[in-house]
């Protein structure tokens, strides 16, 4: 099958899943004995995730036109914002999120929106693959003049072929549904595309009890001319 068509089919399958969930939630509403507040939150959360995924896919098209700005971005602030947005999902799915910031460099050269999506997709992936009651870890640290943002999960090990592809620096297309069971890899594909567009390096580390995905970004030289306080 044509690679592009294959990719579209995989993306379509992944985007269909939240719609099917929304439909079930809506069908269940009339039978709710309580106020339905929990179901309402679930519907909002599921639709927001689906909208975000569609927006990200649309953005991939614009990447090719170079329609995004590279600027100094406060990496911790972006990570804080993503974790705030996903905190409901983590607690709903009974996963913990451990955050460790050890970077001294505060600003990186990136596009804020794209970096947000990269961290968001990494964390969503980690939540999905870390078992119930376990945790995902978000770490930000300095690494050879760059800042590395890594997300570790405690799920099944990454298949060797995908790891090799990640080692090359990017994922070419959303791969088969069995990339990691239950996933099309669409989120990682988006993260990979966005990272590459920002000139950042994306990669994966295989652990025996899970996987870490990371993106490393150049420290903003422009911003280093200013006082740190300006960005605190």
């Amino acid at each position: 099958m044509d690679k592009e068509v294959d990719g579209i089919l995989v993306a379509a399958h992944e985007l269909k899943a939240p719609l099917a969930v929304l439909r079930q939630l809506a069908l269940g509403l009339p039978e709710m004995e309580t106020s339905g507040e929990r179901m309402r939150s679930e519907m909002v959360s599921v639709s927001e995730r689906a909208i975000k995924q569609v927006n990200d896919l649309t953005k991939i098209r614009h990447l090719e036109d170079g329609l995004f700005v590279m600027e100094p971005v406060a990496v911790r602030a972006v990570c804080d914002e993503v974790t705030r947005e996903l905190s409901y999902l983590f607690s709903h799915n009974r996963r913990d999120l451990y955050i460790k910031y050890s970077n001294k460099s505060k600003l990186v050269t990136a596009n804020r929106e794209l970096l947000y999506s990269v961290v968001y997709n990494f964390l969503l992936n980690a939540m999905h693959y870390s078992g119930e009651g376990t945790r995902a870890e978000l770490m930000v640290k300095d690494f050879k003049g760059r800042v590395k943002v890594a997300v570790r999960d405690f799920g099944p090990a990454l298949p060797m072929d995908v790891w090799r592809e990640m080692k090359r620096g990017w994922i070419n297309k959303p791969t088969s549904i069995a990339m990691r069971p239950g996933s099309s890899g669409l989120g990682l594909y988006i993260a990979s595309k966005f990272s590459r567009a920002m000139g950042a390096r994306v990669g994966a580390v295989r652990h025996r009890d899970g996987t870490s995905f990371f993106v490393d970004l150049p420290v903003s030289k422009q911003a280093s001319l200013f006082s740190d306080d300006l960005y605190n």
Binding site: K16, L19, A20, V21, Q24, I177, R180, P181, G182
Partner: protein
């Protein structure tokens, strides 16, 4: 006891709400097999196909390989197009499509096959 095996937790809860009976939700096949190994034989299983770890078909193969679990009716709940597939040999009594199924259909399955 009805088993629901689906890695999409919200979808699993939707099915559980529709069942209106005693259910256990599992996010993967291994946990479900462990539940059975502990001596609990479900009266009915709602099974998703694409799961973390072993998929639904692997689970079905495991089920039919033991005399007791081979008799447990299984309803496949999937978004894959399995129209025309005959999985009766694997204990599959019905295939529900996630895109079109309703809480009513789920309840009908429980009434018809749930013992």
């Amino acid at each position: 006891m009805i088993y629901i095996i689906d890695d999409d937790e919200i979808m699993a809860e939707c099915i559980a709400r529709a069942c209106k009976g005693e259910v256990r939700i599992f996010s993967n096949a291994i946990e479900a097999m462990n539940g059975i190994s502990e001596g609990e034989l479900p009266s009915l299983i709602f099974l998703d196909v694409l799961l973390d770890g072993p998929d639904g078909f692997t689970f079905l193969n495991e089920m039919v390989s033991y005399p007791d679990t081979a008799k447990v009716p299984v309803i496949i709940v999937t978004s894959l197009d399995l129209q025309g597939w005959d999985l009766r040999e694997y204990g599959v009594v019905k295939i529900l499509h996630k895109d079109t199924m309703t809480p009513g259909e789920i309840r009908e399955c429980v009434e018809e096959y749930g013992g």
